[in-house]
């Protein structure tokens, strides 16, 4: 526990952008209106896999009200090369053809053409007059089928890369990963108990309520202005410039308020298309996706097949692990298999382990990150096996986790060792919790627990603070604010300077004004951009010491800054505001700045407890009580930490119990609407109790760890364990929806 007493950190001020967001004044991308703006509509493939034989746009182009039409031909050729996009890398040729199909469509919803017109209805009607001749090809949407030698090939030139070793023949498997720690084969021979199962999970979507949207305005001088819903304006700028093959400096990206992202608003989909439409028409163009487009043509997160095996000694020590994982990449390479492999045993100190992972292309939209990408799937597998081990050994499921929990010095399966981390503390919090200590009674009821982990990254952030004449501060930063981060960043600056949160006016800048800042993702913003704000505050204090030295006629070394932000020199002690005002009156004006790129993962661990009741007639699961526990390092704004815990948990509950891409026989999605995809409503979930553990992160001035992602990791596993305890039925497939659970319960009864 961090014992330092803070004034601002740990309090719960109202967010700076709050009033705008409760009065309807906040401007999201679709609310942006420019003079002469046209509406764009994207025509999309009705087929899962097809060759484009021809596209005839003539009738659309002559439709009254239509100002521009684009197809793949309007996109420049881009090199088949990998570009580092700050957070992960992408093959530019794939990125471009995902924005607009070239010779082939690879999934239903793949963009083939777009129209800009005076009204979206005119654009839509005109787009439907575009004649696309397709030659329909065989398609595949199940990961194991896509791996077969005779599977329909999505990319003729794609070969498997096994860490730089390229296979000879093309396949749908762009990447094979393999990790080994110790000697797993031998360790399994020495194990007293072994558990092994196969698991499947469905493709799921981030489900942000705001559809993707963009406004592009291509000036005659070659300057391209973009307003967009993005988690990262700088990566959106780079991707757009690369796809369009124009200089980076010609592109200005202004991040609007963003209606949710969860990892799904990092890749660009619409920006290049809107830019080309704007260039051709000479007018600004706005495109918003329909909800069906969002499901079918943005970036859901991978479905998976997993086989996991764990061996333990009779005393409960886990000694051997083995995992074979195949994750959907979607239509283009680059899924979430890496972190899947690295997270499968991330919570347990298993001395010997071997993990194989495959990234697999198939006829679904290109997958994207979704909160702890790749980790929820493997936790569903591993955390159930841990329960099974405990049962076989006659141990309590909490005790076996506590016995094997990773701690400082434990080695991950991919090699690195953990610095100080907080899984043991989270499990202790489970043990101490009111929830754990309250017996669950009644028929068809069960309790389950699960642990979870996400790395949390640092990456690059910048902050600049301009001091006003009254000592208040305008804080310019570049992290798009999806959940109150302006305030949690401002609070860190306020703390270091001895100000109140209200004294800071935080502003999310565009790519021309803010210093380079990586995406709002990876659980990094409060950690890294908060650190940048802290350092910018320190920079200000340094400058003020130098200037005050002149004012007070002493040397800068003689001036000290107290923990409350006050400056002391000689017999004088003044607060930040007082000194700032004094300096302003003396003709000085101050701008503090900082750039940071912390490189240490912040290692967010958590554990959750779920109580459920199963309706034996229908297989419907009702969540009765839920507790989410997480090590936040230090909670800057506890309400927003709780909000991350609760929101991530409920997304995980949806993933566990309902959400799924249903594919029809022709490999097209059957449920591309909110009604049919069925995310949790308010009525589907109880209150989500939270317990924030604070172990303090030594790599951050206030001890912050990223919290955004880990909460989605444990729910499917915790609920599966609860379902087992309620029904004696082990669910190995997600979602555990009523028909699937009912069927499993029936076959379980038959086999008993």
């Amino acid at each position: 526990m961090t014992s330092t007493q803070y004034r601002v950190i740990g309090s719960r001020p109202v967010r700076h952008d709050g009033a705008d967001k409760v009065t309807g004044k906040a401007i999201y991308t679709a609310d942006t209106k420019l003079p002469g703006m046209l509406a764009g509509f994207v025509l999309r493939s009705p087929h899962a896999h097809a060759k484009i034989v021809s596209i005839d746009t003539s009738e659309a182009e002559t439709t009254p009200g239509v100002h521009a039409v684009v197809t793949g031909k309007d996109f420049p050729n881009v090199e088949n090369k990998m570009a580092d996009l700050g957070e992960g890398s992408v093959n530019l040729a794939y990125l471009s053809s995902n924005c607009m199909a070239q010779q082939k469509v690879l999934y239903r919803g793949h963009a083939v053409a777009a129209v800009a017109a005076t009204d979206v209805h005119i654009a839509e009607a005109a787009a439907k007059k575009i004649k696309v001749e397709y030659e329909v090809l065989d398609s595949v949407t199940w990961v194991l089928d896509a791996m077969k030698e005779d599977a329909p090939l999505l990319h003729a030139d794609l070969v498997t890369d096994s860490m730089g070793d390229k296979a000879e023949n093309p396949s749908n498997i762009p990447v094979h990963l393999h990790f080994e720690k110790g000697d797993a084969g031998k360790a399994f021979e020495e194990a007293d108990v072994i558990v092994e199962r196969e698991f499947k999970t469905a493709t799921v979507h981030q489900g942000y309520i705001e559809p993707h949207a963009v406004v592009a305005d291509y000036n005659e001088d070659g300057r391209l202005k973009i307003w967009t819903a993005t988690q990262g304006s700088f990566t959106a700028r780079q991707q757009t410039a690369e796809v369009l093959q124009i200089p980076l400096g010609n592109v200005l990206v202004t991040p609007c308020e963003i209606g949710g992202g969860f990892g799904g608003k990092i890749t660009v989909y619409l920006e290049p298309t809107a830019a080309i439409l704007s260039k051709k028409s000479g007018r600004p163009v706005r495109i918003t996706m329909t909800r069906a487009d969002v499901f079918e043509a943005s970036g859901p997160t991978p479905g998976s097949f997993m086989r996991v095996k764990i061996g333990a000694k009779n005393d409960g020590t886990m000694i051997a692990g083995e995992a074979w994982l195949a994750y959907d990449a979607g239509a283009y390479p680059g899924g979430m298999i890496g972190p899947g492999c690295m997270c499968v045993f991330s919570c347990y100190d298993i001395e010997h382990a071997v993990v194989d992972g495959y990234d697999v292309c198939l006829n679904k939209p290109k997958t994207s990150a979704y909160r702890a990408p790749g980790a929820t799937q493997v936790a569903f597998a591993t955390e159930q096996l841990v329960d099974e081990l405990a049962a076989k050994l006659g141990m309590c499921e909490l005790e076996i986790r506590q016995k094997n929990a990773v701690k400082e010095g434990s080695r991950r399966v991919d090699g690195p060792v953990y610095p100080p981390i907080g899984l043991e503390e989270c499990l202790q919090a489970v043990q101490n919790s009111d929830h754990w200590n309250t017996p669950l009674e009644g028929p068809n009821r069960g309790r389950g627990i699960a642990a979870g982990f996400w790395f949390g990254c640092g990456l690059k952030s910048s902050a600049a603070c301009t001091v006003n004449s009254d000592g208040t501060i305008n804080l310019l930063e570049g992290s798009t604010d999806i959940g109150g981060s302006r305030t949690s960043i401002a609070m860190q600056l306020a703390e270091v300077l001895g100000l109140e949160a209200d004294d800071i006016n935080p502003m999310v800048g565009d790519t021309d004004t803010a210093g380079y800042t990586d995406v709002t993702g990876g659980s990094r913003v409060t950690f890294a951009t908060g650190m940048a704000a802290y350092e910018a505050g320190r920079d200000l204090q340094q400058q003020m010491k130098t200037l005050a030295a002149d004012l007070w006629d002493c040397s800068a070394d003689e001036i000290t800054v107290g923990e409350d932000g006050s400056f002391t020199g000689g017999d004088k002690t003044v607060g930040f505001k007082e000194l700032a005002t004094e300096l302003f009156q003396a003709g000085e004006h101050l701008v503090g700045r900082a750039t940071v790129s912390p490189e240490c993962p912040t290692n967010g661990f958590g554990a959750q407890i779920a109580d459920i009741e199963v309706d034996p007639e229908t297989g419907k699961v009702t969540v009765l009580r839920y507790t989410t526990i997480q090590d936040a390092g230090k909670a800057i704004h506890p309400s927003y930490v709780e909000g991350q815990l609760q929101g991530g948990t409920v997304q995980g509950i949806g993933w566990a119990l309902n959400e799924e891409y249903f594919y029809k026989a022709d490999d097209t999605m059957a449920n591309a609407s909110f009604l049919d995809y069925r995310m949790p409503t308010m009525l589907d979930v109880p209150m989500i109790d939270t317990i924030i553990v604070e172990t303090g992160n030594p790599d951050h001035p206030y001890g912050v760890r990223g919290v955004g992602e880990t909460p989605i990791v444990p729910p499917p596993a915790a609920l599966a364990n609860a379902i087992f305890n309620a029904t004696n039925t082990r669910m190995t497939e997600l979602p555990m929806s009523p028909p699937k659970l009912w069927k499993a319960m029936q076959s379980n009864q038959t086999s008993e």
Binding site: T23, R291, T649, F674, M682
Partner: protein, 162 residues
Amino acid sequence: MSASKKAHVTTTINGESTDFLCEPRHSLLEVLRDNLGLTGSKEGCNNGNCGACTVLLNGRPVDSCLVLGVEVEGAEIETVEGIACSSNLHPVQQCFLEGAALQCGICTPGFLVASKALLDKDPNASEETIRFDLSGNLCRCTGYDKIVRAVQAAGQQMSAEA
């Protein structure tokens, strides 16, 4: 498809008499956002699944994406822009802010309008009633916990003031 002839519609929006021209196919949501510049009501799905476009039509919450502009002739409409009284936030807005009941904020206008309608009717609504009544509004960020609590807190404040 050529644009159809526009209809002239007279209505009251947030207490002000308003008239507009719209095509028969234009939804109330499109009219509010595109014709009248009231972009507080959000489009999340355009088929009545998410509730982000909720407005009050003659006091009843409706998904404005499912109502045609021409249908509101003579009606009274209240949108999120009309909830606050001049410079004072409504208790439900204040409680959403203080209770951190919003994250990205895109669903918030719909929730506020639907919550206000519920609390005007029943300021002491139980958790169960709140969850039932607001289940047509989707939020993907908060897990709903803080929204339910904010609505309860606002209800208490409203009963105390009544």
